[in-house]
């Protein structure tokens, strides 16, 4: 499954800060940065002809990724740069991070590009401990909002969304306020993935806790009175989760089963699910009827970043830069550029480059100057909740414990 994010937190940073490399290694890192022209040594004007030339000399690039899309990405890259061999590994988020850390601890520097979610670990552990370096090609700086490129470049924005069955509910979405899900009508009819072992889901829970004010207000709108918190419950976000679980929320071990559960046609009482947004694409492949609850109070879309970075002491730094640039899409792409199916072929591929593999609803480029995939028109205006990396870092352990306690009641 895709990106099982972290879980681990400040924890790692303390540990790693203490075990952090000696000065000699720091010096090593500095000199690597200098040769690779990264970080503070990244020139104001990047000479892409030169980078491409050097990348071809390096002849190889190794990518660790949290998602299987990396395989398509690698294929597409090699269509454009057949001289450069791509070693792409789809490891899932947890293993991606773990492998980078373990290899570097063992003194092995074999990976060039690291693509994964896991804000807390990537930003508060790997980045400050010099296991990865943030790299934003200069030409992208204007078209990506600062929070999506600093301190770490977002490769794609993804989201967990509320999904319902549009076949059963043809006229209108079945709910307009998330608190309806805590009513008896939706008992046993709301499902989500277990957060134990899925960092994306854990991140979602943290996001709900973080936006407790919005959840409290939504309750007021819905019930016409202020929310009363249950015993020992900290805020409206936790209260929402608590009531969902009391309403016999069904826990799944897999995301695609969720897509089936809410999307299978011909059901009388299909559940609503918290699903990864990209499963909406199963509508086409599996003839499902999933639809996204864009207009629900307070929000039905919980967005998060999948990051990309260059690994410390990457053996092929120029190929790594080229790969990062490739996956973010080319310089001359505009919002009006016309692309046609199949996106991963011919003219469309040339126009989109690395965006082609992600050109579908549910995986959106952080750039504001690129075309939106068909069906994703609502994305830009939709109300989206974002999680703050530092909040996640400080709270996922608590959320995890909350879940363990609540599910064993």
């Amino acid at each position: 499954m895709k990106r099982r994010l972290f879980n681990q937190i400040l924890a790692g940073s303390v540990a790693l800060a203490l075990a952090s490399p000696a000065f000699a290694q720091e010096a090593d890192f500095e000199s690597w940065l200098k040769t690779a022209e990264l970080s503070q040594f990244q020139p104001q004007d990047e000479n892409w002809d030169d980078i491409i030339k050097k990348a071809k000399q390096e002849g190889e690039v190794t990518v660790y990724s949290s998602a299987s899309t990396v395989n398509a990405l690698a294929e597409d890259f090699q269509k454009l740069y057949p001289e450069i061999k791509v070693n792409a590994y789809d490891l899932g988020s947890e293993k991606t991070i773990e492998k980078v850390v373990r290899e570097q601890q063992a003194g092995i520097y074999s990976v060039d590009v690291v693509n994964t979610g896991g804000a807390a670990q990537m930003i508060y552990d790997l980045l400050p401990n010099h296991r990865i370096v943030n790299y934003v090609p200069r030409y992208l700086e204007k078209s990506i909002p600062e929070e999506l490129r600093e301190p770490l470049l977002t490769q794609v924005v993804e989201a967990t969304v509320l999904m319902y069955n549009a076949d059963t509910y043809k006229d209108a979405p079945p709910i307009s306020n998330v608190w309806q899900l805590t009513e008896p009508e939706w008992k046993k009819r709301f499902a989500m993935k277990s957060p134990l072992g899925s960092l994306t889901t854990l991140g979602l829970l943290a996001m709900i806790a973080e936006h407790s004010d919005a959840f409290a207000k939504a309750y007021q709108d819905y019930a016409g009175k202020p929310l009363e918190l249950s015993d020992g419950i900290e805020n409206a976000g936790y209260e929402f989760l608590h009531r969902l679980l009391q309403n016999d929320l069904v826990i799944y071990d897999s995301g695609s089963k969720l897509a089936t559960a809410s999307g299978l046609k011909g059901q009388d009482k299909p559940p609503i699910t918290f699903s990864s947004m990209h499963y909406i694409n199963k509508n086409a492949s599996d003839d499902y009827a999933n639809a996204i609850l864009y207009d629900v109070n307070p929000a039905g879309v919980f967005a998060y970043s999948t990051y990309t970075s260059i690994a410390a002491k990457a053996p092929h730094p120029n190929a790594a830069k080229l790969f990062v640039a490739f996956q973010m899409g080319p310089k001359d792409l505009t919002a009006d550029t016309k692309v046609e199916k199949p996106y991963r072929d011919g003219k469309s591929l040339e126009a989109l480059q690395g965006l082609a593999a992600y050109f579908k609803v549910g995986t959106f480029s952080p750039r504001d100057d690129v075309p939106v995939p068909p069906g994703g028109e609502k994305w830009r205006e939709a109300t989206k909740f974002w999680g703050t990396p530092s909040y996640q870092r400080d709270n996922v352990a608590a959320v995890n414990d909350f879940w363990i306690i609540e599910t064993s009641q």
């Binding site: 540990a15 063992a106 134990l196 089963k257 492949s285 352990a397 306690i405």
Partner: protein
């Protein structure tokens, strides 16, 4: 070796000692084995204990300012007394006890009844029945769970419906679809083979003249059984209970498949979740609980019945086993056994086959049959997944499974032989007993816990050994060590039968150690060893609990790939890949038996 010979005795007593060791190779082997076992078995246990008592990186949010590695009782408080303890430990612990006791009792009832029927009655086709009742053991234990899901799945989890709901149109209740009941039944249908084999082995050595003596003394049938047969079989019952209980309480796959949808967590699934979210402190402590329970169980067993470990019931006098005539009931009994086989072997395999052939999961309609999930290419019926024989992931996993099982069998064979040799040759010494015990130790580690310990141990380089995390070698290593109890036991048994004099004669004639081994000992001991190796082979092919934490995409084996399809919800591929696994296990088993036709096969 040459350098040592050159060193000669003149270097004083130290060198003299070395020379002495080399002239008695069993001492040197004992030393090497001791070092290996200390490192691979004893050290991990200490490691496990140590990690539960120190601050782990994950704990930073709870213990700000504490440095990882410092001593702490934090995990013990959190797991046993904190506000999380009910959720983390007590409830899963109770659940584990319920399923483990339930399954053990059911295993014992099934196994003992079958054993009695096969050994002591005139049930028809006894030989065939004897061979058939051990069949479930050839299947991975979670095959039953998958089959159960295919049949009883209800609408609690959406998507494809189960066969029962599909045919009858009504949904089976939650308690029948998920949780304790199905877990107990599925585990029992797999593990009853242990008690069957142990008890039938023991029953067949009970001379029925003893019972007849009882009859002459005026005892009723029941009294004969209670006061004569039962006590004689008791030690076997005891070991059957211990073996079954330890295996059942440590098993992961079945509770994972059938427990999660109903929030029914047991210790192994909690360990998996804790370690999966990097909370190793909690995970290891829960693992330690399982280890302690296993030890406790063995200890209790020894206290209760261990004193009278065995009885001499076989003597030079005639041995007779009286058959109980079941009369016309023999066919009824036979029918019941066939029914059991239907449930434990034919039905699960049939369901998996049906599942692998259905175009849409959950639609069991003849017009919906497809071979896509066997031979289809990507982009056919299912755009995402190619059929088993076109699927590089499955094929490479199958190859990995075979390689892993082969190397593990080879490894345990060699180690088991050497340990057996040393233990037998130094019999009576403390070293011999210690070594024998250490070789048995891996048995008490529940598989998931053992995997968890090895992750911690081998993620960094230790001395000359590089970091093995993520390598195939680590899988081989752990599979070898975990299976060591079987081969060391068969090794000891085999070598006990070879009299020391054979080797001494050869030694007097100046034949070196290696030649003695190659020409005399190994050939004589081989039949026992091969059976132990076969067990390792079969066991490793279908192992999931042990390696589920250790596999990476490149080292994935069939069992772990099937588990990942389980979470990815591709039931057809699960069916097809599981059948492939079953075919490989059965095929290799047949091949082995043909190759070593004279070998008497044991079991694990």
């Amino acid at each position: 070796m040459t350098t040592l010979t050159n060193a000669g005795p003149r270097k004083g007593s130290y060198a003299m000692g070395l020379v002495r060791i080399f002239s008695a190779p069993e001492k040197m082997i004992a030393l090497i084995m001791a070092v290996i076992l200390a490192f691979l078995v004893v050290f991990p246990l200490f490691q496990l204990i140590r990690e539960t008592m120190t601050v782990q990186p994950y704990d930073a949010t709870y213990l700000p300012g504490r440095v990882p590695g410092e001593l702490t009782s934090f995990h013990y408080e959190r797991v046993f007394t904190g506000r999380l303890s009910w959720a983390l430990f007590y409830k899963p612990f109770v659940n584990s006890l319920i399923t483990a006791f339930g399954a053990t009792v059911l295993c014992l009832a099934l196994g003992a009844t079958l054993a009695w029927v096969v050994v002591r009655t005139n049930v028809p086709f006894r030989e065939t029945v004897n061979a058939a009742v051990v069949m479930p053991y050839m299947l991975p234990s979670w095959v039953m769970a998958l089959a159960w899901m295919t049949f009883f799945k209800n609408d609690r989890i959406g998507g494809a419906s189960g066969l029962l709901a599909y045919v009858t149109g009504s949904q089976p209740p939650d308690w029948l679809a998920f949780g304790a009941v199905p877990i107990i039944i599925c585990l029992a249908f797999h593990y009853y083979v242990y008690s069957y084999l142990i008890i039938s082995g023991s029953l067949s050595t009970v001379d029925s003249q003893l019972e007849e003596a009882g009859a002459i003394a005026g005892l009723s049938r029941l009294r004969q059984f209670l006061s004569i047969t039962a006590p004689l079989v008791l030690p076997a019952l005891g070991s059957a209970v211990v073996m079954t209980f330890i295996r059942v309480i440590g098993s992961f796959g079945t509770p994972a498949v059938l427990g999660m949808p109903a929030r029914y967590f047991v210790l192994p699934t909690q360990i998996y979740a804790a370690i999966g979210s990097r909370n190793v402190g909690d995970g290891y402590l829960l693992a330690l609980v399982l280890v302690v329970m296993a030890i406790l169980f063995i200890w209790i067993n020894q206290r209760i019945i261990g004193v009278r470990k065995s009885f001499v019931t076989m003597s030079g006098k005639g041995f007779r086993s009286r058959e109980v005539d079941l009369g016309p009931f023999r066919w009824v009994v036979f029918g019941l056994i066939m029914l059991l086989l239907c449930f434990t072997v034919i039905l699960p395999i049939g369901l998996l086959l049906l599942q692998s052939l259905s175009k849409t999961a959950g639609v069991f309609d003849l017009s919906q049959l497809t071979l896509h999930y066997w031979f289809g290419d990507r982009g056919g019926v299912n755009a995402l997944y190619a059929g088993v024989f076109q699927n590089p992931q499955i094929l490479s996993a199958a190859w990995n499974s075979l390689r892993l099982a082969f190397f593990a069998a080879l490894g345990t064979g060699i180690l088991g032989f050497l340990i057996g040799y040393v233990v037998v040759r130094t019999r009576g010494t403390l070293a011999s007993r210690t070594l024998e015990m250490a070789a048995f130790l891996p048995y008490i580690f529940p598989a998931v816990a053992f995997g968890a310990i090895y992750i911690g141990m081998f993620s960094k380089s230790i001395g000359p050994i590089p970091a093995l995390y993520g390598t195939f070698a680590l899988l081989v290593l752990i599979a070898t060590v975990k299976n060591l109890p079987y081969t060391s036991r068969t090794g000891i048994a085999a070598l006990l039968q070879i009299d020391k004099s054979l080797e001494e004669t050869a030694r007097v004639q100046g034949i070196g150690w290696f030649t003695r081994m190659r020409r005399i000992i190994v050939p004589l001991a081989s039949s026992g060893l091969v059976s132990g190796m076969l067990l390792t082979f079969i066991g490793t092919m279908r192992e999931l609990s042990l390696i589920v934490l250790l596999v990476t995409p490149s080292t994935a084996v069939l069992a772990s790939v099937i588990y990942s399809y389980q979470t990815d919800d591709v039931p057809q591929l699960i069916g097809a890949a599981t059948l492939l696994l079953v075919a490989l296990v059965v095929g290799c088993n047949v091949l082995f038996r043909l190759l070593f036709r004279n070998t008497k096969m044991g079991f694990a």
